[in-house]
Amino acid sequence: MKEESQDRRKFILSMARGVGIAAFGGMIWSAYVDEATANRLVLRPPGALKEDEFLKTCIKCGMCAEACPFDTLIISKPGDNVAVGTPYFVPRDIPCYMCTDIPCVPVCPSGALDEKSVTTNGELDINIADMGLAIVDTKNCIAFWGIQCDACYRACPLLDKAIYLEYDKNDRTGKHAFLKPIVNPDYCTGCGLCEHACVTKKPAIMVRPRELVMGEVGTHYVKGWDKKDETRLEDAKEIHTVTERSKRDALDNLNDMGGLLDD
């Protein structure tokens, strides 16, 4: 009887020890996982799901990188500061050359690279890919200085759509023109050919994940000049908020010196 209870105590203690060690190890482990997946600056292959979903779904087999004919895609190694084993690319080194048959996407076994997101009318269409968005550092772009350079504009596979030139008068010389590269987010795929072509020491045009560089207006602004946007107002209802202060007339509020003057 006594021995049996000793055994039971031993068993419970060993289980409790196991749970303790597991909790301690699990804490360190989960903290590491959190850190290891924190980098949001990486550029993913075309067709990649949103970063959170991508990290969940990618099984890290590397077949996309094997399929890439330009060796653009890199499989993250320990030390790269990108969730280990996942594919990414660095456009300044090797950009995405936007193959029309997109060999990297159909080979993906897990669906982390989603074929549907790069398909229009049943055919693969690299032009609708969204790997990121190019942004221009207008301070360091020499075209904005007035020096003629259209390297990024000419490198762009969607020339005159994703990057177009805005002509402007150069008041400094009085006789020259600015040819300023402007990115149109509606067309830019984030392939990075512009970043690759940029002539400055550190690229003045660079690709970043779209969510990081785009703002969001919210629903409370309506483009009055846009017929389609205007239709949003059709079902709009007036919302009238009453607060303690708004009960009174605005003028009364202005004239109310209560609390401002000594008696």
Partner: protein, 280 residues
């Protein structure tokens, strides 16, 4: 001489040629075996996936594609019916590292000094449990982020980076800290295949009549708890923690160990074996 290493040589050949096929797919564009041990494509048509990785992804909340489900089922079926835990000793490249550590351990006579094992053989099942909890909590396959096994095979195929540190730490862990520490105690992939291969057909069998109790098999076995019957009873090794590496068969000078195919029709021997195993 070669007879003493016949299975070891065969295992090294399969391990290395599988890795060479993967590397060939990446470097020279071979279409025989693409991908890596997490998920691959055989001959451009048959998907193969690591069931443990797929399970973690499922728990993390990913939508599992048909390719991954089919791939995992093929792998599960193969090991559940035939191989048992053969993945660990016939496919996984980390096995070469831990076998080397274990060989050195024997040569340096570390086993004679460090007899007590400070780690439970069941740690791997705890690791599986924790990995699934963290996967669910963090929404990402938790072991795949830290897996030194994946770092090794991926490193060999796509570039090592700091992955060599993971390999080295396993090597020293096995050499100085715990005998058969990684593969025999910690690795949850081995744990998963132990669970999958529970009822597989290929087994090592012991003939206690022929046994002279030299204990060479126990010394060389990376999971020597499965050889509890040596010199006691003529039983097949039914524990799925046996990796079917066949080192015990090679080192045995008495032909007291050999491969056999489990016979489920004649139930007696296996049942007896299982009862014995649980009572041990």
């Amino acid at each position: 001489m070669i007879k003493k290493y016949r299975y070891l040589i065969l295992r090294r050949i399969t391990q290395i040629s599988i890795m060479v096929l993967y590397i060939g797919a990446n470097v020279w564009g071979w279409k025989i075996l693409m991908g890596n041990l997490s998920s691959s494509n055989l001959l451009g048509s048959v998907p193969l996936s690591d069931p443990y990785a797929v399970l973690q992804m499922f728990v993390a909340g990913a939508v599992i594609s048909t390719d991954l489900i089919v791939g995992a089922l093929i792998v599960i079926a193969f090991y559940a019916i035939f191989g048992g835990r053969a993945f660990c000793s016939w496919v996984c490249p980390v096995n070469i590292v831990t076998d080397t550590a274990n060989y050195l351990r024997r040569k340096l006579r570390i086993n004679q000094v460090a007899k007590k094992v400070p780690l439970s053989r069941n740690t791997r099942y705890w690791v599986i449990g924790i990995s699934l909890i963290i996967s669910a909590m963090m929404g990402v396959a938790a072991f795949e982020i830290i897996s030194p096994v994946a770092m090794t095979h991926r490193g060999l195929i796509f570039g090592m980076g700091f992955g060599w540190a993971a390999i080295l730490s396993i090597f020293f862990f096995d050499l100085f800290v715990v005998k058969n520490g990684w593969c025999g105690h910690v690795c949850p992939i081995g744990g998963t295949y132990s669970l999958i291969g529970k009822f597989s057909l290929f087994r090592v069998k012991h003939d206690s009549e022929a046994c002279t109790n030299c204990r060479k098999c126990i010394e060389v076995c990376p999971e020597n708890q499965v050889l509890f019957m040596i010199n006691k009873e003529s039983l097949p090794v039914t524990s799925a923690e046996c990796t079917n590496c066949a080192r015990c068969i090679e080192v045995c000078n008495d032909d007291a160990l050999f491969f056999h195919i489990r016979n489920y029709v004649q139930k007696n021997e296996t049942k007896q074996g299982e009862i014995n195993e649980t009572s041990n």
